[in-house]
C-alpha cells in the first residue's frame, strides 16, 4: 500500500492532489426500508484488517513528508437492493471474496422481509471516508 502511494506520487504533478476514498473500518449495517419506515436488521461480519493497513500506509507517507493531509470527511454510502434475491446474490459474492459467513444475518433479513408489508428495499450502509492529500514533491 505504501508502494502504491509512492507510485501515485510519481505520476502526480507537483502540488497535485491525491484522494483516498474508501470505507471506514466499521462493520456495515443492514436494514429494510418499507411502508412502515426503516428497520435495522443487523450488522455484517467482515475482516477489517486491510482497512487498518491502509490507514497505516497513509500515516507512513505523511511521516515521510511525501504528502500533506489537508482535509478528511466522512459520509454515508448506501447499497440499495430491491429484492431478497438481489441481497442473496450480493451477499454470496461478498462471502466468496473471502469474508466470513453471513448466514445468521441472512436468516434475520429473510424473516423481516417476510414479516414487513408493502414495497420493500434492502439497504446496506457504511460510512465512507474521503481524505485529500497534497503532493509535496518539488
Amino acid at each position: 500500500m505504501v508502494h502504491a502511494l509512492r507510485e501515485a506520487q510519481g505520476v502526480l504533478q507537483p502540488d497535485g492532489i491525491l484522494f483516498d476514498l474508501r470505507p471506514e473500518p466499521v462493520h456495515r449495517r443492514v436494514g429494510i426500508l418499507s411502508d412502515a419506515g426503516y428497520q435495522e436488521i443487523g450488522v455484517m461480519r467482515e475482516d477489517l484488517t486491510d482497512d487498518y493497513f491502509a490507514n497505516r500506509a497513509v500515516k507512513q507517507v505523511l511521516r515521510e513528508g511525501l504528502f500533506r493531509s489537508e482535509k478528511h470527511i466522512e459520509f454515508n454510502c448506501n447499497r440499495v437492493m430491491d429484492t431478497l434475491n438481489d441481497f442473496r446474490t450480493w451477499l454470496l459474492d461478498f462471502v466468496d471474496r473471502g469474508n466470513p459467513s453471513q448466514d445468521s444475518l441472512l436468516e434475520r433479513v429473510e424473516h423481516a422481509h417476510l414479516t414487513l408489508r408493502g414495497r420493500k428495499k434492502i439497504i446496506v450502509s457504511a460510512p465512507l471516508m474521503l481524505r485529500r492529500l497534497r503532493n509535496l514533491a518539488r
Binding site: 500500500m1 508502494h3 502504491a4 502511494l5 507510485e7 501515485a8 510519481g10 505520476v11 502526480l12 504533478q13 507537483p14 497535485g16 492532489i17 491525491l18 484522494f19 483516498d20 476514498l21 474508501r22 470505507p23 491502509a54 500506509a57 497513509v58 482535509k71 470527511i73 459520509f75 454515508n76 454510502c77 448506501n78 447499497r79 440499495v80 437492493m81 430491491d82 429484492t83 434475491n85 438481489d86 446474490t89 450480493w90 465512507l128 474521503l130 485529500r132
Partner: protein
Amino acid sequence: MTLRIDPERNEVHALKGMADWRGKRVLEIGCGNGRLTRRIANLGTQVIAIDPDRKLITTARKELPARISERVRFRVGSAQELKYPKETFDIVVFAWSL
C-alpha cells in the same frame, strides 16, 4: 440483479466539494466497472481509469456513455506499477482501492 450503489451520489458530491475538477487530468485507481469514473468524468475532467480485473474493464468500456467517451480511457492496470510518465496527472483518486 438490481443493485444501486450510492444512489444519493454522496461520493461524487464529496469529491466535488474538495477540489476544482474542471479540465483536470485524473487517474482513477481501482475503477471497477466504471461507476465512479462516469461521475468523475461528468465533472469536466479527462480520466484514465485503471483496474487489474480485465472483465470489469470490459464492462466499464461497454457502459461508458458516448457523450463522455472522448474524455475517458479504461486500462487494465495496477497501482503497484503505474506505467505513466512522471507528473502526468493533476489528481489521483484511489477509489476503494488503497
